[in-house]
Structures are given as C-alpha cells and as structure tokens.
C-alpha cells in the first residue's frame, strides 16, 4: 500500500535482478573484480612481443610510456577494502603510477557498488568509458551491438610474455570465448578453476573422539557420517549432531553437495563429455540417480538435517560453526569461513581430503571456469594498447624489477593494506593459489621470504601461517588452506595430474539458456529436493529427465555442442 515504497521496491527488485545476475555464479562471469593472489614468474617484462619484424623495438614496448601522455576514462566497482592514509579511489599510488610510468592519465568517471546498475545506465546514455571492466552479460550485449574495439592487434604487439602465457593452454579457452569473427573483443581476467573444486572436509577431532580411522573410500565416509549422528561426537548425551551438510540450494561453493555427487561420478550443473565424446548436461546423466538414492536414504535415517530444505548455505554455515555438523563438501577457502567456529571452540579441527570414490575409479572433482571480469575497450578509442599495458603491469613484480624505487610499499603491500588492489586492471595465472601455496611453504621451510610474490596476498599468508605455527589459533584458517596438509596441497595434486573435470561449456549463456534456463533449473531443484525428502520416489528421476529434455534441455544441449565446436 505504500506506493512510493512499492515503486522503490519495484525498482530495487529490478535492480537486484540486474545487480545479482553475476554474483554467485562462478562458472561464467562475475561483476565485481574479485581478486586472487596473483603470481608472476620473475621474468623481466620489457620485451617487445611483436611478431611483425618491420617496426623498431621501441614502439612496441609492452611497458612503454605514452608520449605525449594520453587520457583514458574508466569506471570501476568498489572492491578495495582498505585504503592507505590519504588515499581513495580517485587518488592513489597506482593512479599516479599509471601516469608517471606509462603516461596514462586516468579519468575516473564513477565508482559504484552497484556496478551493474550504473553500467547499464551508462550504456543507455551512450557515453561509454574508454576502458571498462564488464560482466559476462554486459560484454555479450556490447559485443553484439558492435561497441567494442578489436584488441587482437594490440595484444599481439604490446602483450608482454607473461600476459601471453596467461592466454595459452588453459587460458586459451577463455580468450576464445571472447573472440567473435576473429576479433578479440575483451581481455578476460581468468579466475582459476581450482578455486571452484569441492574437497571433502571432515571434523578430525570427532574422528579421534570416536576412534575412527581416516576414510579411504566413499563407503568409509558414509560409515563416518553414520557415526557422527549416532555416537554423540560432541559428548553432550544428546542426539543433536548430523552427518552430512546440505543446504536448500544444493549446489553452492560452501556446504553444497557437488562433491558428494562427484564421488559417484555424477556431475550436476556442469557440462561434461559422455562416452561418445559429446557434450551433455551432467544433471540428467544416470549416475545422478544412484547418488540421489543415497541422499534419499541419508535423509530418511537422519544423517541429513531434515530442515536443510529451508536453510541457505549461510544458515547452515552457522550450524557448522556451532558444532552440529561433521562432514561437508566445500571449496578451498572453507577454513577461513570456519575460523569463527574455531574461535568459539578451539578444539574444533577440520581436515580436507581428496574426494573419495564409491568404486575403484578415482574421482575427478568438478571445476568451473570463472572469469572475474571482461576488460574491454570502447569502439573508436584510439589507444587500445593502453589496456594491454595496464594488464601487463598487473603481472609484473615491480619491487623486484626496480629494487631501489621502494615500489613494494607504494604498489604492492604496505603494512596491512593491499595496495595492489587499487589496480584498475587485473589478471593472473590460473594456478595462482597453488603457486602461492608452493611459495609460502617453501618460504617457511627455508625461512627465506624472498621467494614470496608480494603482488598478492602471499606475504600476508606467510605471516599468518607463521603466527599459527607459533600457536596463534586465529590464523588456523590460513594454515588449513595453504598449509602442508591444507586445501591447496590437495588441489596441487589434482592439478599436477590434470585431474579436474572442468566444465565443457565456457562462454556466455545461449539462447535457450536465457529463455528456458530458469524453468529448467527450477525443475531440477524441485525434483531433486522432492526425491531427497522422500516425497517422490527415486524413479521420478526418469520423469524429470524426460521433462527436462522436452522443456528445452535438448535444445540447450544442441546449442552448447554448437558453441563449443569452434
């Protein structure tokens, strides 16, 4: 009845529609420039990268200065956590650096927390900034209406070696996904697939208490889950603990069941190749049925919290921190979330394990292909190489390159302030967290900090791990992520063996995905929830598959196969 509020709510709802479209979906795109500790090998980056032989070296310097200086208009979202004294989005060391080192004078048009909203309105007003960090769908819209400059030439001529390496191998897929008719329309900031792979986490203090061995197979895990429910691991004589964590949205990075399904060789929500080599959708494959039946059984016998169906991941997380759950499938940074629980109950111990299989075939954990941002240049801007140079800059270890210029404090890390996050343009190598793990552990072993890459959180991680080793439990989370038995160690193994099952579909949503995607997702969630709750029989899975195919699933599959063919 309050119309102003109603309308405002309507605007806000629409705003939320637009703003959150890229929030949690890690397999396609992200609007906010989430940062990952970046690692760049210690190579000097000032080599001309041109394959054409006719021009003099100087004009293709990847880190060369524009003379006369140029002006570049940019926009950004508010993702800097902390500013140093006297610094802000409009005035900081990196902006000065862009100008003094590269001759790029940055004109920041706006900074916004509702980046999508603001960007949408900017697009309609027709005044695009010169360089823009876009979300997947914004990129798609601008690409389709021919608003973006071709970057192929600029990348060829000005891309540093490090940058070109990023776009090779696994990174090439990312670059291909932004190429249209041979034109490279954006430089994607690759997020690194390892960060989306689920690991098996178990409360080891409960294992010890109940005298249970560490699990080797999925069956062991199920036995442990049962014990956690029935053998009173928290010692209060009440049956108030559960075995396995699930939340109402089923597939979430933390406290989801992706890992559970993976252990049965089922891959919901991602696209995989079947035996015939065709790309198909994971949630409708027969392996899902076995896993679902198991979940149904676990719900029935009380291993799962019967009320999970109304609790989101955050709510479930609260229960985990309160000590009510003992097994979860979550991604690598779970221990940082659990730090709160650890602070409450220092006896709580969690350990990650690789996903254990239900049979003799090893499990490949699923992985997405997150692209944190698409950096694009508006069509008609005379200096697209400015973007390339700025991206080159994000991969250089400046303090190592110019050790006498005291750049570490200005550009990288200064007393608790992550200065590199001021950068307007980021990129990184997909294995950066794993590299961080290697570097930090080496530094601890050899007590030599020089191997650390200050361009990311490495010095901070190093500091925290040393604190933990000295007895400070508040840094337990970092240790369980980056330590010798932590998440990264397992991910490093997987990576070494190329054992991730990365989604086969990388790109912006296809037509059927846009039109029927929600209907199909709703169908899937409802069907699976009903099965798990026991409200529908396990055979209703077949009905679901048939419906899914009919309502657009087949069309979607065809489109995906087409899209990934080229």
């Amino acid at each position: 009845m309050r119309f102003k509020r109603m309308k405002r709510a309507g605007i806000v709802s629409m705003a939320c529609v637009l703003a959150l479209l890229t929030a949690c979906n890690s397999s396609n795109n992200a609007a906010s420039e989430s940062k990952q500790p970046a690692v760049s090998p210690e190579s000097s980056a000032s080599q001309p990268a041109s394959s054409e032989a006719s021009s003099p070296e100087a004009s293709y310097d990847p880190l060369g200065k524009f003379d006369p200086p140029i002006e570049v208009s940019v926009v950004r979202s508010t993702n800097v956590l902390k500013f140093d004294e006297g610094e802000s989005y409009e005035k900081n060391a990196w902006l000065d650096f862009y100008e003094s080192e590269f001759g790029i004078k940055v004109n920041l048009l706006w900074v916004s927390d509702q980046f999508d909203q603001k960007m949408n309105t900017t697009m309609v007003s027709g005044k695009l900034p010169d360089i823009m960090p876009l979300g997947g769908n914004q990129f798609k819209r601008l690409a389709e209406t021919d608003q973006l400059e071709d970057l192929r030439d600029a990348l060829e001529k000005y891309g540093s070696e490090d940058l070109k390496k990023v776009f090779e191998g696994g990174g090439k897929i990312g670059l291909d996904s932004v190429t249209k008719d041979g034109k490279i329309l954006a430089l994607p900031w690759l997020g690194g697939y390892a960060g989306s792979a689920p690991l098996l986490w178990i409360r080891t203090d409960w294992l010890k208490k109940l005298n249970l061995p560490e699990p080797q197979t999925m069956d062991d895990v199920l036995k442990i889950a049962d014990a956690f429910v029935n053998q009173d691991p928290d010692g209060n004589n009440q049956k108030d603990t559960y075995g396995l964590v699930v939340n109402k949205d089923l597939y979430t990075d933390l406290f989801g069941v992706d890992g559970f399904f993976n252990s049965y060789h089922a891959y919901p929500k991602i696209w995989i190749k079947n035996d015939a080599g065709e790309i198909v959708y994971g949630s409708v494959q027969p392996e899902m049925k076995t896993a679902l039946a198991k979940l149904q059984e676990l719900y029935k016998n009380g291993t799962l919290d019967k009320e999970f169906v109304v609790k989101d991941a955050d709510k479930v997380g609260q229960m985990v921190n309160a000590g009510k759950l003992g097994i979860t499938y979550s991604v690598d940074w779970l221990p940082l979330y659990l730090q709160a629980g650890k602070n409450q109950d220092p006896g709580m111990e969690w350990k990650p394990y690789p996903l254990l299989s239900i049979d003799s075939a090893p499990v490949q954990p699923k992985a997405g292909y997150p692209i944190n941002a698409y950096y694009a240049v508006r069509k008609g801007f005379e200096h697209p190489e400015a973007l390339v140079k700025m991206m080159n800059a994000s991969l250089v270890l400046w303090s190592k390159k110019y050790p006498d210029r005291d750049l570490a404090r200005k550009l990288e890390f200064n007393n608790g302030v992550e200065k590199w996050s001021y950068r307007l343009v980021h990129n990184q190598i997909p294995t950066q967290n794993i590299d961080a793990y290697k570097n930090v552990n080496k530094a601890i072993e050899t007590n030599d900090e020089s191997v650390l890459n200050p361009n990311s959180g490495e010095p901070d991680v190093y500091k925290r791990m040393k604190e933990y080793l000295a007895g400070d439990l508040k840094s337990w989370g970092y240790y369980m992520d980056f330590g010798p038995e932590g998440s990264q160690s397992i991910l490093a193994e997987y990576d070494k063996n190329s054992a991730f099952k990365i989604t086969e579909f990388i790109g912006v949503p296809t037509a059927t995905m846009v039109n029927q995607g929600d209907t199909l997702a709703k169908l899937e969630l409802t069907a699976f929830t009903k099965i798990i709750m026991g409200e529908a029989s396990i055979d209703s899975f077949d009905e679901f598959v048939a419906n899914w195919k009919k309502l657009g699933g087949d069309d979607m599959t065809k489109e995906v196969q087409e899209a990934m063919k080229k």
């Binding site: 102003k4 509020r5 956590l81 989005y89 900074v111 007003s125 997020g191 309160a322 959180g457």
Partner: protein
C-alpha cells in the same frame, strides 16, 4: 458526566493493556536480538549462538563503522539530505494537498489534477529512464539528486488531502467572508488544525529519507557523496561471505559480517526511535474543535 464502568468493560480494559503490551514486546524482541548480535563477537554471531543477550561482548563492529572517516562524511550528507528533503517534501505535500482537497464546486479541475498525481505512483518506466532524466537535468553527484526527484510524495499528498477534507467547511467560508484568500486559509487555519496528520506525514518523510539508500548508490559517482544508509549498505554488501569468491579471501578475514550487519540495522532505526515519541504528542484528540464555532 462520567460513565459508569461495568465489569465487562473493566475486563476488556485490562486484557487490552495486556494484549497490547504483549504485542509490543513481540515487536521489540527482534530488535533486541539485532542489538545483541551487534555487540557480540563475530565468531559467536557466526555460530548462531546469540539470542537476546550479547555473547563475548565487544563494540568492534560499531568501532569499525564509526572509525572510518567515510562514516562521518556520510552522516553529514544524510543530515543535509534529511533537512532539505523533509522541508521540501512537507512543503510540497501541503501545497498539493490543499487544492486537491477542495470540492469540484470550488475547484473545477481538481479531479484531473488528482489523477495526474495518482498515475505517477501507478506507472513507471523503470530504473534506466529515471536515471537518465536525473542525469540530463544535471543532478547526478549532487545533494539535489536525493531530494528533487522525490520531492512530491504522492502518497502523503493523498493522505493529507483526506485529512484536510475532514476539517469543517465553515473555516473556509468564514475566512472568505472576512476577505481572506486561499493562502491565508491554508497557512493560518488549515495547518494549525492539522497537526496529527502533519505529524504523521512528517514521520513517514523522515523515515523515508533517513533509510533511503538505493538512490544514493546509483545517483552518486563516488563514495564520498554517499548518505549514511548507502554507506552502511556498502559495508554490508561487501561482507556477505556467500557472495565472495575464492579471491576475496583476504577480505573475508577482515570483516565480521553478521555483527556489522546488525550494527547497521540498529543505526538505521535509531534516529526514528528518538524522533517518533517526540512526534507523538501531536497525535492528540480534539484539536479540531472548539474555536470553530458558528
């Protein structure tokens, strides 16, 4: 002349008190819960342990919010916005409600005007064209963007016009006979007699401006122009653990989300808690009587 109070009446009175007091506690508890969370340690909050009393009492979430220079800045912006917005809204409400409250016999086009106003709360083009209009009129990044586009609170106008209608027609008629025009009738007679309704829409206007955060977010280009509610929103959105990706690890370690969220809500409700009881003295019966005889 006093009425005799029956037993039934007494029972009713007592149960009424009990019921209403119970109801108000029901409404108070969640806020107490929020308050308790805001004063608890983040780990206790993150484990869902806080009920109605803080666990591991600490004030760090308030410190976190209050210590930032942006906080003071945003409070100043909000104060400016509320002062301007309140004045303008109230002025507009009164100016528009008065003519619309007249009958068609005294004011021929009133129905057309009334529909003109109503349509604006029924239809809208959405966020983008609204933003463009504000932008083209040069208000982006200024305090006026928070005040001018919403200057006419149509719902309040309608409320007020209905209250105005409830005033005796004799006021107007006798004033006209004395030679006064509409202006004097409005300012010297209608306003003083409409204190309850003016208090009502004042409250709504104040609440609206204090808590309105989305417009600040969209219409301002840089965070230093944000009003308080927007600034608080910024702190919260940044700290939702489920919305973070792996790369935000370093961010997560810094923020205690639930407690800051709770502190934010409390800070948002606080001024209203302080102002509303003050406004209530205008909700007094019988103002419309008395001097209007004959």
């Amino acid at each position: 002349m006093k009425q005799r109070i029956s037993l039934g009446r007494n029972i009713f009175i007592v149960s009424n008190y009990i019921f209403l007091i119970f109801l108000s506690f029901l409404c108070l508890f969640p806020l107490i819960h929020v308050l308790a969370i805001s004063f608890s340690s983040s780990s206790a909050a993150a484990s869902g342990l806080v009920k109605l009393w803080p666990v591991d009492f600490q004030i760090s979430s308030y410190q976190y919010i209050l210590n930032k220079p942006e906080f003071i800045q945003s409070v100043l912006v909000t104060l400016k916005r509320v002062a301007l917005g309140f004045t303008i809204n109230l002025l507009m409400s009164v100016l528009c409600a008065y003519p619309l409250s007249k009958e068609r016999s005294s004011f021929r086009y009133r129905t057309i005007y009334a529909w003109y106003f109503i349509i604006t709360i029924l239809f809208g083009g959405g966020l983008i064209p609204w933003y463009l209009t504000v932008s083209e009129t040069g208000l982006i990044d200024t305090i006026w963007a928070l005040v001018i586009p919403g200057a006419v609170p149509v719902f309040n106008v309608i409320l007020l016009l209905n209250f105005f209608r409830g005033l005796p027609k004799e006021i107007e008629e006798s004033a006209f006979m004395d030679g006064a025009g509409h202006w004097r009738v409005l300012w010297l007679m209608y306003i003083p007699l409409s204190l309850p309704s003016l208090a009502t829409i004042s409250l709504f206007t104040l609440v609206g401006h204090w808590n309105s955060w989305f417009d600040g977010l969209i219409l301002m280009n840089f965070p230093d122009k944000y009003p308080l509610s927007t600034y608080l929103q910024l702190v919260i959105i940044n700290s939702d653990p489920m919305k973070m990706s792996a790369g935000d690890i370093y961010k997560y370690a810094e923020i205690s989300d639930r407690t800051t969220r709770a502190a934010q809500i409390f800070l948002g409700a606080l001024p209203i808690l302080l102002v509303y009881p003050f406004l209530q003295k205008y909700f007094v019966k019988g103002i419309v009587l008395g001097s209007i005889k004959g």
